[in-house]
């Protein structure tokens, strides 16, 4: 008895296959498109984040005031809030980390940090056999840097092991290598420091971030210190975290505790992250309009149906259907179309996401990929389904309510 309304709804759905199929098609398309676009935008976003985390780490600690307009601090003690503003002139300026050993021990207090790499950055000219180029050298301790970056997987030629074992070796960004036509194993000269040094190319890396691949080279920290003449200071710290999402708050805490300038990846890459967010939201809105349209389609089908079926409604009422039963018959029809639409929509979404992920697409610039990047996230499906449910519910609820309001006596009379 409970399912009589559903049974009737099913018969009605079968009775108008074409209109229902069109509505169904709209829902399937809407859900699938929603998931696909979200899978892509969030896929690219996640890939970008992975790239920047793998290249520049979650947190960077430096003391360079170059891009800092004073230190603004707010601390709250005993409920009192006080602001502290240190102007650029007033601040004691030290380039880089002041005392690496001290900072290291201070950082050991933070359990969120999974790795620390000390880096000494500087400029130099790289000379190959025929041409030379200005580059940014990063002096690193290979074993430590491996902990805070994805450098192992970024090596596309040569071996990290060789670099690790040979203090007078260098890792080159692939665009530099390409421009200077250099191969692994060849010798290059680094000029512009305390003196020229000869290095052997241990490997070539590609981060996918063209700005880095064009300019960066890694050498050993000790070599860099000697070359740049900065034996005790000037280096920066790159940190990795167990949960990079927490970088902003941990950064603030480190900044507070160590009086160093600390920047999280979210702050560093804010512009790009905002772009991705805007893309994700705008595509969600755009694609939701497909669902909105199919909702309107369903509304249309049902509104016409209620008019066409007024006689049936009158009959049902005359044989003991309550107004709520009548609206249930219409709501169930929406429910049936919605249910099938959700299942098919999700299946199509899974299938097409899979297909799209294998479409070749070469991207270099902010990250590097050779095919579409997709992100498999159940929340995309949940959102798509939720939006479909909302639109279809409204679309079937309005006609269903109208159907319930039909006065049987009037109908029977009017259709005579």
């Amino acid at each position: 008895m409970k399912f009589l309304n559903l049974e009737l709804a099913w018969k009605y759905v079968l009775g108008r296959k074409r209109a229902m199929t069109m509505s169904l098609f709209g829902i399937v398309l809407g859900i699938a498109f929603f998931v696909i676009t979200q899978a892509q935008t969030s896929g690219f976003e996640a890939f970008f984040i992975r790239t920047i985390l793998g290249t520049n780490g979650a947190i960077r600690i430096s003391d360079s005031f170059q891009d800092m307009h004073g230190t603004v601090r707010m601390s709250s003690k005993d409920g009192k809030t006080k602001f502290l503003f240190n102007s650029r002139e007033g601040a004691r300026y030290t380039e880089g980390v002041e005392n690496p050993a001290l900072l290291r021990s201070a950082l050991s207090q933070f359990s969120e940090i999974s790795g620390i790499s000390e880096i000494l950055e500087g400029k130099a000219t790289l000379a190959g056999s025929s041409r030379s180029q200005n580059i940014e050298i990063h002096g690193i301790v290979p074993s430590a840097h491996m902990m805070v970056s994805d450098i192992e997987n970024q090596i596309i030629q040569g071996q990290l092991k060789i670099f690790e074992l040979e203090p007078m070796s260098i890792l080159l960004g692939n665009r530099i290598a390409h421009r200077l036509m250099l191969q692994t194993g060849e010798r290059v000269t680094l000029k512009g420091g305390t003196g020229n040094i000869q290095l052997r190319i241990a490997g070539i890396f590609e981060t996918g971030v063209s700005q880095i691949d064009k300019n960066r080279a890694y050498i050993h920290l000790s070599t860099a210190k000697a070359f740049l003449g900065k034996r005790f200071s000037g280096s920066i710290f790159q940190l990795s975290m167990f949960n990079p999402e927490k970088a902003p708050e941990i950064s603030a805490q480190i900044q507070e505790a160590t009086s160093h300038r600390v920047i999280s990846w979210q702050e560093r890459e804010q512009v790009w992250l905002d772009v991705f967010k805007a893309l994700r939201i705008s595509s969600a809105i755009t694609v939701s309009s497909i669902l909105l349209l199919s909702g309107l389609g369903i509304f249309n089908v049902f509104a016409i149906m209620v008019i066409e079926k007024t006689r049936d409604i009158a009959i049902l009422r005359s044989i003991g259907f309550k107004p709520s039963d009548v609206s249930a018959v219409f709501l169930w029809q929406g429910g049936i179309v919605l249910f099938i639409g959700i299942i098919l929509g999700c299946l199509v979404a899974i299938f097409s996401t899979y297909v799209i992920s294998s479409i070749p697409l070469r991207i270099r610039g902010i990250f590097s990929t050779d095919s579409f990047v997709v992100n498999w996230d159940p929340s995309h499906y949940l959102w798509a389904v939720l939006i479909a449910i909302i639109f279809v519910s409204i679309a079937s609820w309005i006609p269903a309510r109208r159907a319930a309001k039909i006065e049987p006596a009037k109908i029977i009379r009017e259709t005579l």
Binding site: M1, L8, K11, G15, I315, I319, G320, F321, K322, T415
Partner: protein
């Protein structure tokens, strides 16, 4: 009227009107009647005199402006919608001029609807519906979809649906309105037979005076009032 006959339905001084702009169009102007078990009653009268309106009032599909309706001796005029819905399901069978079957359903599914609605399971409903269809000579068409039946067949299915839940009262609004004379007579004979055999009260609105003369009682209406024959 013999004392053994039970009064199924009694209407007292029914009044009803429809709003026509600011004016009121009085359609039923004080109708009293009663329907007894086992008897057929025909209501005849010129078009627009209020026959259908009266029938819907008696069938609890519409609420009278004034007057009272008794079903099985209880006053149902002011009953709740829920009670009325239940009465329509259990005690009243409607037959309309156009068979009003649900075309997406088969004959037997149409007939089973009131049973299913009253809580009987699908299987038992089918079984009982089949018996009724058999009674009306429609068993061979039971599984045919409703819109593939002839007019006369559809009307018989509609009658089957009206009587399947064993109502005590059948209200028919021009049940033969679009049937040929042979089928019209068949339907009338059938209703007459049902009234006698199952002790139902049957009230039929009709334009056909030939048929009306076959019934036990004849009520003539004019301009919202009854003028007894």
């Amino acid at each position: 009227m013999t004392p053994s006959k039970k009064i199924l339905l009694k209407a007292e001084e029914l009044h009803h009107s429809f709003a026509e702009g600011v004016r009121k169009n009085r359609v039923i102007k004080g109708v009293s009647l009663q329907v007894e078990a086992g008897e057929t009653t025909a209501v005849v009268g010129p078009s627009g005199c209020g026959k259908s309106t009266l029938l819907y009032l008696l069938g609890l599909l519409d609420r009278p402006e004034n007057g009272r309706i008794f079903l099985h001796d209880s006053d149902v005029t002011q009953s709740s919608d829920k009670t009325k819905t239940q009465l329509r399901n259990q005690s009243i069978g409607f037959i309309f001029q156009f068979h009003f079957l649900i075309k997406e359903l088969t004959a037997i599914e149409n007939v089973s609807l009131p049973l299913r609605k009253s809580g009987l399971n699908a299987e038992d409903s089918k079984e009982k519906s089949m018996l009724v269809l058999q009674k009306l000579g429609m068993e061979s068409k039971a599984n045919r979809s409703a819109n593939k039946l002839s007019g006369g067949e559809q009307q018989r299915v509609a009658i089957a649906r009206a009587i399947v839940n064993s109502p005590s009262l059948i209200l028919a609004d021009e049940p033969t309105g679009n049937l040929d004379s042979e089928n019209s007579h068949k339907v009338f004979d059938l209703l007459q037979e049902l009234a006698e055999r199952d002790n139902l009260g049957v009230l039929i609105v009709t334009h056909n005076t030939d048929l009306a003369l076959k019934t036990d009682n004849l009520i003539r209406m004019q301009d919202g009032l009854i003028i007894r024959a």
